[in-house]
Symmetry: C2
Subunit: 401 residues, 2 copies
């Protein structure tokens, strides 16, 4: 039997009234394992959060067509030779495989349930990248305009002369450390500004001040630079372009239109600014619904995530030269990052949203499947584990093809 | 035309990215008017909150049978001579009248919508008082046991030798100031411990430490003493008795059973301890559903809030001598406080949950109606305004009888 990691219940996290200090989950401890086993299903208890309403429309129905996938063999995967072993060993909380609107496999672990909203981390970005399509098509947002056209306060930051399009595809060049494990990195400063970690006295006061503090490294538009702050800068542009708050934009433009079963949540800082880059929590099935719409050209029946043109734009990807020279070039030699999605450039043209600690929304247009995996891995990033996820998804798709 | 108070939108609260400091709503400013016009519909954005799931069952249907109640004359009400004027003048956010499962009137103001979850303040207590019935009947909670049987840490506090029954009916005698407007009052210290206001260096660390710090005034059981801390002590007992957290108790014992349309939320402190006394937010219709079940003997069809016996127990009220000598004796000469409900002792045997800043769940068994009013009044308490609400509800009931 594969070894299963300890669950939140096994660890007694937040058990007791009050919990023992060793079992307490706080803003200082929630992201890393093992505290994240509890935290990723309870983010609103740690960081103030806005409701992203599902609205009042009908739910997009998903039929159940269970297949026994547990013994699928995963090619070249170190963390588990079969799907069952892989799910157990990679700290899975929720896992779902959808084909043509039918749920082939829906699994919950570690106390997660169909009603649980689980943190998406950077899969949140891919929601943003889809909803922006409608705003571009309506003329509310001009991809060719500079960021400072919308947000004059960002004029003397790294973002001032970047275009909205460069934000969207992450080709803004910044002096920025996205090292999740380094307390002195920019991305941890971003966390503290957003209320995700305890503040330090010298920190910028909130996310807006943090974004204004960022400086340019070299010319924009020449290479892909994955940077979580860039998505928040994009959200700031969207707020100014629409006169609405990001939680409301996310509700109006996306979540109330896709036939979601549950409200989503998004964390907010002290000024009410949402963490568009990573703060969204949704239920397992709702993330699958969203993926299904994107796979299906943006809509299914009356449920809509974006236009067919925007869905095609995402799937087509960006210029492959942009990623080739980066740290991601080895993983995706033909890949790109387009509209906040990872385009793998692999044989099956799979594309995905992905987030640290094991969050994945994988879409394979050839096999016509969507795979959702929500996890609470102990480390933010582990190259072997990330690679194993890609190989596992490809193996599942191949087995189902 | 009656004068309508400024809405959150009129005031531009939390508008702008970031909002102007004068329009920012923070933990230091959210409870009082006018900031509460925005805050009471967005509490989870200010105070970390747990989800109280509606579960996956069917919604209790409410038929629509609109009646034109706007011009009902309200006897002896200073704030508005007609219902319409009264609703406008008393900072109403949501208002609903239900008779025999039919919605006679459903009104939204100040940006509130059917999907909005609005803070209940002390109407939260009445939810607790209903769900405890099932725990008593199953034997999980013994009303006759002392508090320290369940929570030994409370032994040397005011609560140590009080019985659970005395918590439930609020006849614990404490040295406690429930002055909502006084920054040095115990109830504001409670707020700070619960994360509802910015901490002071000398404050107890969290709600548990706050409850342990409270001292007895005189003998318990002799008189009614309305005290928000007492409900939190009750919630602590329930957590120890069940081994579950209060948000889960509220979900399991109540919210997933009543046919709610929307999840509820409850604020939590840094140890994850919920503000059972006042931190619950629910939608307008869901509060009406809850009231309908209580009015109807605890259940409607398969939807259930409590047993017929517990519903009858609440409605029967407690010993009227307990309230007579208190500040509330003048308002309710025949009234009592029973299981976290106000029993008016009036001609129609109306009983209610009520919370500061204008939250009311009014049940009139003679007229067979439930009235819900959720508001964002500028002051926590105003005797004239409170009295006007009671008179308004009685007038509506009389007009419909």
């Amino acid at each position: 039997m594969p070894q299963s990691p300890a669950t939140a219940a096994d660890l007694g996290l937040m058990v007791g009234s009050p919990p023992d200090p060793s079992q307490l989950v706080t803003t200082a401890s929630w992201q890393e394992g093992p505290k994240n086993r509890w935290a990723f299903q309870h983010v609103g208890e740690l960081v103030p959060s806005a409701v992203v309403s599902r609205g009042t429309g009908p739910v997009l129905p998903l039929a159940s067509a269970p297949e026994d996938l547990a013994e699928i063999t995963l090619d070249g995967v170190e963390c588990g030779a079969t799907l069952e072993a892989f799910l157990q060993e990679t700290y899975t909380d929720g896992f779902l495989v959808l084909r043509d609107g039918e749920i082939l496999c829906e699994r919950y672990f570690n106390g997660m349930e169909p009603t649980t909203r689980h943190l998406l981390m950077s899969v949140s970005k891919s929601l943003c990248g889809v909803l922006v399509g409608g705003l571009v098509e309506s003329g509310a947002v001009d991809l060719g305009a500079t960021v400072s056209t919308y947000v004059p306060e960002l004029w003397d930051s790294a973002y001032g002369d970047a275009t909205v399009s460069q934000l969207l595809d992450m080709t803004v060049s910044l002096a920025f450390s996205e090292d999740y494990a380094d307390p002195d990195s920019d991305v941890q400063t971003q966390d503290r500004a957003a209320g995700w970690r305890p503040r330090r006295i010298e920190d910028p006061e909130g996310s807006h001040a943090f974004l204004r503090s960022l400086r340019r490294r070299s010319a924009h538009g020449r290479t892909f630079q994955y940077c979580s702050a860039t998505t928040d800068a994009l959200a700031w542009v969207l707020e100014r372009a629409t006169g609405r708050r990001y939680p409301d934009i996310l509700t109006d433009e996306l979540w109330s239109r896709i036939g979601a079963e549950h409200d989503a949540f998004v964390t907010v800082d002290e000024a009410g600014f949402a963490s568009a880059n990573g703060g969204v929590s949704v239920s397992l099935r709702d993330l699958a619904r969203f993926g299904y719409l994107v796979l299906n050209g943006g809509s299914v029946g009356t449920h809509r995530a974006c236009s067919p043109a925007w869905a095609a734009h995402i799937r087509a990807g960006a210029d492959v030269k942009l990623m080739r020279e980066t740290d991601f070039g080895q993983e995706f030699p033909e890949g790109s990052y387009c509209a906040q999605w990872w385009i793998t450039g692999g044989e099956t043209s799979a594309f995905e949203g992905r987030g640290i600690y094991g969050q994945f929304l994988w879409i394979d247009p050839v096999a016509d499947i969507v795979i959702v995996k929500l996890s609470s891995l102990p480390k933010a990033l582990d190259p072997i584990v990330t690679r194993d996820h890609q190989r596992a998804f490809a193996s599942i798709a191949a087995a189902l093809a």
